[in-house]
């Protein structure tokens, strides 16, 4: 039987293994990049302090962002990097400050994204093994898969964007699906106005309200979305496609049969979806090989709420459902932070306190 400090020492060894570089970003970080990246929703969890010059700082709430940012700031684009970390993060929850010990891996700019993800899964698996978690419940989700699905199902592009933006927001997505499923109101006797006319009307309204025509939404943007809305109402998604979408989003079962079922429903709808599914199948198989006792679920509607996730995402939970590890692929992170080109990124974060609790259960 190992002791807590032995387990921790083993975790340190994992984090400091030879193929990775352990980094420790400062405890006090400028808050603006976190707000810029994750918005108000995440920002409410930060512990903030303001310098006398008005600049806001926060106690380190997460490792991914400062690590990705210094990779960029140090001009390392194009250089494959593997960073690990182990340390405290600070958040507020229900108005109370909380501290967690977090460990994790960040793989940036790796040439083989698929191999990188398997490396991330292996890392998480090893970390769980240190804490004697050999049969976690693993939930897989496919952000990239959903995007490919919307395209393959021939959902009109304007709707694709709307649906995609709500992925990972269960209530918002549910509401949109209800809107799509509702019988369309037929708009009659109302020919869409000419774009120029609409732009003019909006421009007049903005000028008389004293609004800048360039500082916020522009008249063109408003007019285009107005006309697009009219067009969307006219070009509704066919009912059977809406049903297919709903069926897809409701899939949540053991990975193998979930992916088979998605393949079959696409087949029945008249298109072949095996190629996009292939990637997910591979990773699910790799996971099954890594931890034969784990319960691997594919949940088609599962996605973190942050929009920089791109490919496969995962969560590993313990006996009582506590999330012990989570991560995935987030190729949009570096471009969000200002990278001039596409940089692959994948990684995971481990909740050390919960792992320790699991070990002593």
């Amino acid at each position: 039987m190992k002791t807590a400090s032995e387990r921790y020492a083993a975790l340190v060894r994992l984090v400091e293994s030879r193929t990775v570089t352990r980094v420790t970003p400062p405890l006090l970080l400028p808050a603006a990049p976190f707000f810029d990246l994750a918005g108000e929703e995440f920002g409410r969890n930060l512990l903030l302090t303001t310098a006398s010059n008005g600049i806001e700082y926060c106690l380190r709430p997460d490792f991914t962002l400062p690590i990705a940012k210094s990779y960029l700031d140090d001009g390392l684009i194009g250089v494959p990097a593997a960073y690990t970390y182990l340390g405290t993060i600070f958040r507020q929850q229900n108005g109370q400050p909380v501290e967690y010990e977090q460990a994790g891996l960040e793989l940036l700019g790796q040439a083989d994204a698929s191999q990188a993800l398997d490396q991330v899964l292996t890392f998480a698996r090893w970390a769980l093994a240190i804490y004697d978690v050999t049969a976690p419940s693993i939930r897989l989700g496919g952000v990239g898969l959903f995007e490919a699905f919307l395209e393959a199902a021939e959902v009109p592009p304007a709707w694709q964007a709307r649906i995609r933006h709500r992925f990972g927001h269960p209530e918002a997505l549910q509401r949109l699906m209800e809107r799509l499923a509702a019988p369309g109101e037929v708009i009659t006797g109302h020919a869409p106005d000419g774009r120029e006319t609409v732009i003019e009307i909006v421009t007049d309204a903005m000028l008389s309200a004293g609004l800048s025509l360039i500082g916020s939404r522009t008249p063109e943007e408003i007019a285009d979305r107005y006309l697009e809305k009219q067009a969307l109402d006219a070009a509704r998604i066919p009912e059977r496609t809406v049903r297919l979408l709903q069926d897809y989003l409701s899939v949540a079962e053991s990975a193998q049969s979930a992916l088979d079922r998605i393949g079959a429903m696409c087949q029945a709808h008249g298109f072949d979806f095996e190629e996009p599914l292939f990637q997910v199948r591979n990773h699910a198989a790799a996971l099954a090989a890594l931890s034969p006792k784990a319960d691997v679920i594919f949940d088609a509607s599962f996605s973190p709420r942050l929009d920089y996730y791109t490919g496969i995402v995962f969560e590993m939970a313990g006996d009582e459902g506590d999330i012990l590890a989570s991560g995935g692929e987030y190729d949009r992170l570096l471009t969000r932070l200002g990278a001039p080109e596409h940089v692959t990124a994948s990684g995971c974060a481990l909740w050390v306190d919960r792992l320790e609790k699991e070990a002593t259960r």
């Binding site: 108000e40 929703e41 997505l173 809107r179 009307i201 309204a205 004293g210 916020s216």
Partner: protein, 243 residues
Amino acid sequence: MSSAGGLTLAVPSKGRLEEMTRKAFSSSRLTIARPGGARSYIGSIKNQPQVTVRFYPAAEIARELIFGGVDIGVTGSDLIHEVSENGEENVLFVRGLGFGEANVVVAVPDAWIDVQQMVDLADVASDFRARHGRWLRVATKYVNLTRRHFAKYGIAEYRIVESAGATEAAPAAGSADLIVDITSTGDTLAANSLRVLEDGLIMSSEANLIVSRTADWTPLRKAQLEALLSIMGGVPAGISTLL
């Protein structure tokens, strides 16, 4: 707050809210006295020596009620929800007092003819940053209420710009794209060419008589509270189990 008993009542310190609060109390034959006039922050109720009256700004009253600094108070229900994320768990709303009515609403420039509902706002927010290189900005002094309402509609892609006053001018001033603010008649919004979204009502608020649940409720003070509330139109059912 001493074990010897005694209650602290918080009353809005100025303006129409103070005036209407006094009226509400005097209609129950409770006359609030403010011996030092408007500059004084302490007062009393005639024939109720166990009650100390303190005059605070309305937002301060909400904070004091939530943290148990005062026992009873009159303030807007919106402020209880705004001052702390779980403020309403720490207080007991005794009753609305029929004044200080106002709605907290989401309002956009009237020129946004494509935006009628929160779903439209969700669409606009989702690609705003890609178009403009910054987040959609919402000016408000109701930070918590805004975050909660926007989260309910799955809108995460925005930033709050805290505004101390004249929130309705923020879009024209260029410091925000839309606002969340309080309105009683809608006139101020209309004068600033702003329009409330169809489902943009975040909450309806009015001045409430509110009891702090976090104050130190000894049996004696509870009895004193119930006595005072019964003069003011009744003790809410089950109050003793809630304190």
